[in-house]
């Protein structure tokens, strides 16, 4: 797959999705497979891909699969769960997207994660609300031709990738608190905060809380996130709070995260698990 192919997303050069240079392939049965190259800037302290990057992968692939699965209707992401397994320093993460239910009101996807082609890396699921297709999206479809292709590609000559949360512009404002300006680079096609970035904020706010309370490095290993409202005004705040207390041995904690827009609206709600690697 040529990495310099024209980017099909229309996103800005350093967009949160585009930076990941995701690739995808339509399988014979209509399902979708995708890949993320796990650059060092996308890794968690333990060496595996950090949840923020994985969430962008599964949100993007799931969104693409929903277009064909929901047709002729449209699908809006309602929730996303991701569970990661420890895989160490791998070079590539693969996701296989499967439709588990297509009902009148909901669409459910399951997404298997595999590292370097063989190692189980986790599991993600997502629910979509099935709605009438908006008129301005009547003609939109995805490329179903055979072969592996770029879903998003960096601009040729772009500066090297920085750590992913730094690229997004997430700034830590105290333990468990992260602030992000709503820029085109973190927005979806409708100008609201991208779903994958919601999850990235939940990851970083949780990890921030973990660094404060677990005494050192911390990483988010899984998330259950409900999308509630589009975040259309920034800056966007993510606030993580403890659920209960950290484990008695200080190895982990459980958190809930609220993502709030500039008008104070609760835009997403998540629970997470954080470990000291």
């Amino acid at each position: 797959m040529p990495a310099t192919a024209p980017d099909p997303t229309g996103f800005p050069a350093r967009h949160a999705m585009r930076l990941l240079a995701l690739e995808s392939e339509q399988t014979a049965d209509g399902d979708l497979r995708g890949w993320l190259r796990v650059a060092p800037e996308l890794r968690a302290p333990s060496g595996g891909p950090r949840l923020a990057a994985v969430a962008m992968l599964v949100d993007s692939l799931g969104g693409a699969r929903s277009i064909t699965a929901a047709a002729p209707d449209w699908a809006l992401t309602a929730d996303l769960t991701v569970h990661l397994l420890p895989v160490g320093e791998v070079s590539e993460l693969q996701v296989d997207v499967h439709v588990r239910r297509r009902g009148r009101r909901t669409l459910v996807l399951e997404m298997d994660l595999t590292a370097d082609g063989a190692t189980p890396a986790g599991l993600a699921t997502s629910t979509f609300a099935v709605v009438p297709r908006p008129a301005h999206l009547e003609g939109l479809d995805i490329d179903r031709s055979p072969g592996r292709r770029a879903m998003s590609a960096p601009e040729p000559g772009e500066a090297p990738l920085r750590p992913y949360l730094e690229e997004l512009g997430a700034v830590e404002h105290g333990p468990g608190r992260v602030v992000l300006e709503l820029r085109p680079e973190v927005a979806n096609r409708f100008g609201a905060l991208h779903g994958g970035v919601h999850t990235a904020l939940a990851d970083e706010a949780s990890a921030s809380l973990g660094r404060s309370l677990l005494g050192g490095e911390a990483e988010t290993t899984d998330v259950h996130l409900a999308f509630l409202e589009p975040a259309r005004t920034g800056p966007v705040h993510a606030e993580a709070a403890l659920v209960g207390d950290p484990a008695p041995d200080g190895s982990r904690l459980t958190a809930e995260v609220r993502v709030i827009d500039h008008e104070g609206r609760l835009c997403s709600y998540a629970t997470t698990e954080v470990v000291a690697p």
């Binding site: 929730d79 588990r100 986790g122 609300a129 290993t221 209960g244 207390d245 950290p246 709600y269 470990v275």
Partner: protein, 298 residues
């Protein structure tokens, strides 16, 4: 597992209310009934037959209780329509999985996070009476217009109880109440769809699905048959309800995907054998090996 004692009395008179009678959640509304979204609370007694020897309520029963109160909050937010639960998540606090913290009677507090045109989301916090946070759950319901209209709730919701029953089934552990039986391999658990497990719409109650998933996941993680797993607790759970279970038997098949330290990641799928193996639910659970030994868990 042992067979469930014969149902009688209560369940003949209160068809569709068997799980409600078993859970015994006297739900009340904190708000005055005029706000669009009800804030609800309920005590959960955590009676001896529902807890382990430390007094800890299992994750399946926590999910069942959260499904009941969370579903009510979602439904009230949609009147005169109602909802069908599409998914439910539970996450237990890391600090309350062993030892005395988070044991004994519990209190559930529920609010609505969002009510949209097609879906509603509620959150339930579960605490012990000493204030320790035991778990946080959220659930999503899809808005629908039920054929017979919504359940007859009036607001503000006031605690109500079913007529007293001395039915011995109500004093049985969850595995017995739901009639769980082991399959041919670790992680395979089934139930026959008895009347007392059905909700008012005649389908398997969401609580039954949660208990089935909890048992199958622990069995898979422990690598043994259905039964006590004193050192394995489901620490987090997400359930996607795919279609109603109407016929039975319903079988859960749990498969270990991998582990992180003491945590097993487990995938659980449920099918309704009597309905051509129709998929009922898809679940992902984390089962934690807590290191406890020698305890008895019902």
């Amino acid at each position: 597992m042992t067979d469930a004692p014969e149902t009688r009395g209560l369940f003949d008179r209160q068809r569709g209310m068997g799980v409600s009678a078993y859970l015994h959640l006297p739900i009340s509304e904190v708000t005055d009934g005029t706000e669009p979204f009800a804030v609800l609370q309920a005590p959960f007694d955590a009676p001896p037959h529902m807890v382990d020897d430390e007094g800890r309520t299992g994750t399946g029963m926590l999910a069942a209780a959260a499904d009941s109160i969370g579903g009510l909050a979602c439904g009230l937010a949609c009147l005169p329509d109602w909802i069908v639960t599409t998914n439910l998540t539970v996450r237990r606090a890391s600090s309350t999985l062993r030892g005395p913290s988070g044991t004994g009677p519990l209190r559930l507090d529920t609010d609505v996070l969002r009510r949209g045109r097609s879906a509603v989301v509620s959150r339930t916090r579960i605490r012990s009476l000493d204030g320790a946070e035991v778990a946080t759950t959220w659930m999503t319901g899809a808005v629908l217009t039920p054929a017979g209209g919504p359940p007859p709730f009036t607001r503000p919701v006031r605690p109500w109880t079913l007529p007293h029953s001395d039915d011995p089934l109500l004093e049985q552990p969850p595995e017995v109440f739901f009639g769980l039986r082991a399959g041919g391999a670790p992680g395979v658990v089934s139930l026959d769809l008895a009347d007392h497990m059905r909700n008012p719409w005649g389908i398997l109650h969401g609580g039954g699905i949660a208990v089935l998933i909890d048992s199958a996941a622990r069995s898979a993680a422990a690598g043994g048959p259905l039964g006590p797993t004193p050192d394995h607790v489901v620490s987090d759970l997400v359930v996607h309800y795919l279609s109603p279970a109407r016929v039975g038997p319903v079988t859960a098949t749990a498969r270990r995907l991998g582990r992180r330290g003491h945590d097993h990641l487990v995938r659980v799928s449920l099918v309704d054998h009597g309905a051509d193996d129709r998929p009922v639910a898809l679940s992902v659970a984390t089962v934690r090996h807590t290191g406890r030994r020698g305890a008895t868990v019902r």
